[in-house]
């Protein structure tokens, strides 16, 4: 059993009561809400005659269903409009802060909470969305929940939970130029499998993790869930504190020093013990691309689609399904596979550093003939910051569409979707069958820089070659410590 880890400490601090049947009632420090998984939960509260116990600890935004071309109301899709109206009504009725369209703070829920400074080390964070693991980048214990649990958090600011085991994922060395946090997590999932993390929280540690910026740590923790781990986290350090300082909802004044002292003490100490440990060498990781229908079916960009003989027996049935669905022959090199659509965005890779990394590839080049490429910033703040740097102009000049913020083609609940058997290079997190809005559409997951490389090449391409070429001076993603765009007082 793990002991002395950040996970253990945060769990103990938030333990409200032991419940019959062996589960724990856990206090939820921050509850994030969006339009898709909350309406039934609010309705259930109403049915039970209950109110929201601590509305000041819930924060809402709208992201999944918003169109990214025109966000004028009412939306053309009447069901999307009804969902947003329902969220607006529920938040108004219960006194919950809603960062709506045009507020300057709207965006994908997992992008806005960190950039507002809402997500902090040592918190428990819950949201009706599986990629809530993102917030673990700050040393928070953050996990996705179902609609009936959203109801429970609204009613009681707590959840009935079972404690997870803790696996430390230790990464030595440094990521090389053109290799990003996305490649690291795709590599980890490829190695441990999509079910490898079931029952575990992942602690990411080691020199390569310490060197990551906060935005890269978010990308890493975001996809812990795709490896089966309900939450993933990084111990808070100077990088974490530097990111948080000055954000609208971060502690300020005298409280800041006390906060940093408390946060520093939460990290897993040298005496911490783990249920399991796995080691990786960052230096050996190449830009990674998925070729199949699970995020675990990834390979280095210089590799070939694996043949059945190269796979373990238990991987062969899903691989056979993937060959058929993706129409990719075993043994063909992944570099060179033609692409139809390129998508840069999502809660995995829709932040400013992601757009900068993609822009570094797109600069001075043009989207290849016949390819539709678009960039969807993760939030209004990301969009405005990118526009202030001229990234929108750069992308437009290179033939990309520049859109309004939202989840967009990550799950295609809005009008952005693949058609027919189109194949996309996508910076999102799921390559499941039909995920991007067409029942036969195909998705290759990769880093934003790799998506940009695919866009300008017309096929899967090794971004390291493009970065080495003279048009583009930039290597790895730059550290982002930009000033928060907003300075208004925090509302929750």
């Amino acid at each position: 059993m793990s002991a002395g880890t950040l996970y253990d400490k945060v769990w103990e601090l938030h333990r409200v009561a032991d419940l019959p049947g062996g589960s724990t009632q856990l206090f939820i420090g921050l509850h994030l809400i969006h339009e898709v998984t909350s309406p039934q939960a609010f309705a259930a509260l109403r049915d039970l005659g209950l109110g929201v116990r601590h509305p000041e600890r819930s924060v809402a935004t709208v992201d999944h269903i918003v169109p990214t071309t025109s966000q004028a109301r009412p939306f053309a899709d009447s069901l999307a409009e009804a969902m947003l109206q329902s969220l607006e009504r529920n938040c108004a009725e219960h006194g919950i802060t809603l960062h709506g369209l045009g507020s300057g703070r709207q965006g994908i829920v997992h992008v806005i909470a960190p950039e507002l400074g809402l997500t902090q080390p040592g918190m428990t964070v819950a949201c009706g969305d599986s990629h809530t693991s993102t917030h673990g980048a700050f040393g928070a214990i953050a996990f996705g929940i179902g609609t009936s649990q959203v109801r429970d958090v609204l009613a009681s600011q707590s959840l009935s939970m079972n404690k997870l085991k803790v696996r430390r994922i230790w990464v030595d060395g440094q990521l090389q130029g053109g290799v990003y946090a996305k490649d690291l997590i795709l590599h980890i999932i490829r190695t441990l499998g999509v079910k490898g993390g079931v029952g575990f929280a992942y602690e990411f540690a080691g020199p390569a993790i310490e060197a990551l910026s906060m935005e890269e740590r978010m990308t890493l923790c975001n996809m812990a869930i795709e490896g089966g781990a309900r939450c993933g986290y990084v111990n808070p350090d100077a990088t974490t504190f530097a990111y948080l300082q000055g954000r609208p909802c971060a502690p300020a004044g005298e409280a800041w020093q006390r906060a940093v002292a408390w946060w520093s003490g939460l990290a897993s100490g040298p005496e911490a013990s783990f249920d399991d440990e796995v080691r990786f060498d960052a230096t050996a990781i190449a830009p990674t691309v998925t070729w199949g229908i699970t995020p675990g079916q990834g390979i280095g960009v210089d590799e070939a689609v694996p043949t059945p003989e190269q796979l373990d027996a238990d991987e062969r049935p899903i691989a056979a399904e993937a060959y058929r669905y993706m129409d990719l022959q075993p043994g063909i090199p992944i570099a060179g596979v033609p692409i139809d659509v390129c998508f840069i965005g999502s809660c995995t890779n829709g932040r400013l550093s992601d757009l900068r990394a993609a822009a570094a590839v797109a600069r001075g080049r043009h989207v290849a003939e016949g390819i539709r490429a678009f960039v969807v910033p993760g939030s209004e703040q990301v969009a405005r910051a990118a526009e202030a740097e001229g990234l929108d102009q750069l992308f437009r000049a290179a033939g990309f569409e520049w859109r309004e913020p939202g989840c967009s083609m990550c799950l295609a609940m809005n009008p952005d979707r693949l058609e027919g058997r189109q194949i996309s290079a996508s910076s999102s997190n799921r390559n499941f069958k039909g995920r991007q809005g067409s029942a036969s559409g195909r998705t290759l997951l990769m880093s934003p820089a790799m998506v940009a490389a695919a866009a300008v090449s017309g096929h899967v391409a090794d971004v390291r070659r493009l970065l080495a070429a003279p048009t583009s001076p930039v290597g790895t993603a730059p550290e982002v410590l930009s000033e928060p765009v907003l300075s208004a007082a925090c509302q929750p």
């Binding site: 009561a17 116990r53 429970d152 009681s156």
Partner: protein, 207 residues
């Protein structure tokens, strides 16, 4: 529709008239057709329960017959609720007014979804369910009382039918443990104590 409040806390008994739905393997797609799943709330599901079957039978479906309006107990046969795991199916039945099901057998996920709403599903052998269904069809206005602890159905005129309910679900219903929300809200004192010791809720003062 006049629907009573939804279950909360311990479920010890269910009272009301019954409605019979004969047939084996009635799946969740028939209980609530897939096109009703894209919804903002479960609120409308009560009217949509068995929508396609009811349309097909043009008012002759048991759920449309005047004598069964207000029924609280549903009598079914074998493997009721099979198919997709959609929580919408028990929700739709509950919102129509059903508070307990009696049948020969239930699909496992459906049984669990009902339990999570505080709706008991009790079993009895083929012969006893058939006899009970015939009795209800002949006497639709008979009011019953279902005792969860004794697993027994009583009619107003003194008849009683023994039923089966496994000890686990029975205990969950009687103690109110099926209701996670109820348990969580009952610990408000402990919740405030926890909040009081969390630095980030107290301006990071450590004392």
């Amino acid at each position: 529709m006049n629907v009573p409040s939804f279950p909360i806390g311990p479920v010890r008994s269910v009272e009301g008239t019954a409605v019979v739905l004969s047939g084996d393997d009635i799946d969740t797609d028939r209980i609530i057709p897939a096109r009703f799943l894209k919804c903002v709330t479960f609120g409308g599901l009560g009217e949509q329960v068995f929508a396609d079957d009811r349309l097909e039978r043009g008012g002759a479906h048991p759920f449309d017959l005047p004598e069964h309006q207000g029924a609280r107990i549903l009598l079914v046969n074998r493997n009721f609720g099979c198919g997709s795991s959609r929580e919408h199916a028990p929700q739709a039945l509950m919102r129509w007014g059903i508070r307990a099901l009696l049948g020969e057998s239930f699909a496992e996920i459906f049984f669990g979804n009902c339990l999570a709403l505080g709706i008991p599903c009790l079993q009895a052998p083929h012969g006893r369910i058939k006899a009970l269904q015939s009795f209800v069809e002949a006497n639709p206005s008979t009011a019953f009382r279902l005792e969860v602890d004794a697993a027994r159905l009583h009619s107003g005129d003194g008849q009683a039918w023994p039923l089966d309910l496994a000890p686990g679900p029975r205990q969950m219903l009687l103690s109110g443990q099926w209701d996670a929300t109820g348990q969580l809200v009952s610990h408000d004192r402990e919740l405030l104590d926890t909040a009081a010791r969390l630095p980030y809720l107290n301006a990071f003062s450590t004392d």
